[in-house]
Symmetry: C2
Subunit: 198 residues, 2 copies
C-alpha cells in the first residue's frame, strides 16, 4: 500500500499562506515568494517537483480548489488550473456542498466529498490502489490530517522568506512523531522530508 | 574579518522556547526537546556542535545569562553553566544593570553591556579580532540583531517537535535576505544554514 504524503511550501517563520487571502491573491500577501524555487528553478528541483504530482490520488480542501465559499458549489468553477490540471489523477475535494464529479483533460477528475476527511481518505485509497495518496493543501486541510494521524510523509519546502503573518502549518495539531529522513537545498529553498512514525 | 553567526534551536512550528518560561524551566515547557540532538547525538552532530562554540566572542541577552531581571544585577549570579562555561572567550551580556566583568575558568569572561546591541557588537568585534562573533541567544536578542541586519550567517537547528506556543524566532524582524547554503540531518534534527546577503 502506498504512503499518504503531503508536500507544502512554508516560510522560515512557519506560514504557508500570507495575510489578506482574497480572490486576486488566493495565497495572501507575499506568498507567491514561497514558490519561487518551483517556478524559477524547475531543473534544479526536478526530482522534488516530480514527486509532488506522482500520487495515484489527491485530497484538497475547498479553499485550495476555489476562492469563495458557495460561489462554485452550483457554478461551473473547475479549479485554478485551467483545462488540464497538473494532477492527472482523481482529486477529492473536501466541501459541504454536494456536486457532481468534474472530469478535466489529462486524467484529472474532481470528486466532491461532503462526509469528512476520513471518508475522503477511504475514497482516495480506493482510487489510488498501491500508489501514494497526496494531501495537497491548504493549511487547514493538512493540519486536520496531521492531527488525525493520517499522514505518513511530510515534505516541507522551506522558502527563505519571512512572511510575518498568515496561515500557520501545525496550528492545533498536537505533538507529532516527526523524524527527518532527507534534506536538500538550492539558494531559493530548503527541502526537509519527515516520516511520521506511529 | 570574521562573520557574525547565530546558532539557534527551533521547533518545526517556529518556536525557540516553550510557554511558561520560569526559573525551574528557563526555556519553557517542552523546550528541552529542542536540544535532544545535541545531548543524545553528540558524535553524529559533532561538526555542527563544534562550530557553535568556535567564535572569538559571544553576545547574549540577559534572559539567557540569568533567570529574573534584577536578581543577579548586584548578586553573585554567574550564569547557568557552572564554574567553566562552554564559551572559552569573552561573552558580552546585554543588560540595563551595570556590573563588573566576571572571569570564569577556562577563558570565559562575562562583560555587561548597558548601551545597546550595536555597542555590544563593537566590543565583541574588538575582542574577536579576525574570528567569528556568535550571537548566542535568546530569541529576543537574535531577533534584534536580525532586524538590525547585523547577522551574516544564521544556523537553524530544527527539532522534529511541535511546541504549539512559546517564543518565536523572526518575530517583528521584517523581511530578511536569507539564502540557504547548507543542510544536513539526523533523526533528531535538520540543520539549515542561511547566509544573509546584503
Amino acid at each position: 500500500m502506498g504512503l499518504v504524503t503531503c508536500d507544502i511550501g512554508i516560510s522560515v517563520d512557519g506560514f504557508v499562506a500570507g495575510p489578506n487571502q482574497r480572490l486576486e491573491e488566493p495565497l495572501g500577501d507575499g506568498a507567491e515568494r514561497l514558490h519561487r524555487w518551483m517556478f524559477e528553478q524547475p531543473e534544479a528541483n526536478a526530482e522534488v517537483i516530480e514527486k509532488i504530482t506522482a500520487a495515484g490520488a489527491f485530497i484538497m480542501g475547498r479553499n485550495m480548489f476555489g476562492p469563495v465559499r458557495g460561489t462554485w458549489g452550483d457554478s461551473d468553477w473547475t479549479g485554478w488550473w485551467g483545462e488540464e490540471p497538473p494532477y492527472h489523477a482523481p482529486v477529492f475535494v473536501l466541501t459541504h456542498h454536494p456536486r457532481e464529479s468534474v472530469t478535466m483533460k489529462g486524467g484529472t477528475t474532481f470528486h466532491f466529498v461532503t462526509d469528512g476527511i476520513e471518508a475522503a481518505m477511504r475514497r482516495a485509497r480506493e482510487a489510488a490502489g498501491d500508489q501514494d495518496i497526496a494531501v495537497a493543501g491548504g493549511a487547514q486541510t493538512v493540519n486536520q490530517y496531521l492531527a488525525a494521524g493520517l499522514i505518513d510523509e511530510l515534505r516541507l519546502h522551506i522558502a527563505p522568506v519571512v512572511l510575518g503573518a498568515g496561515e500557520r502549518l501545525f496550528a492545533d495539531v498536537g505533538d507529532l512523531p516527526l523524524e527527518p529522513v532527507a534534506v536538500s537545498h538550492t539558494d531559493l529553498v530548503a527541502h526537509v522530508t519527515y516520516r511520521l512514525n506511529r
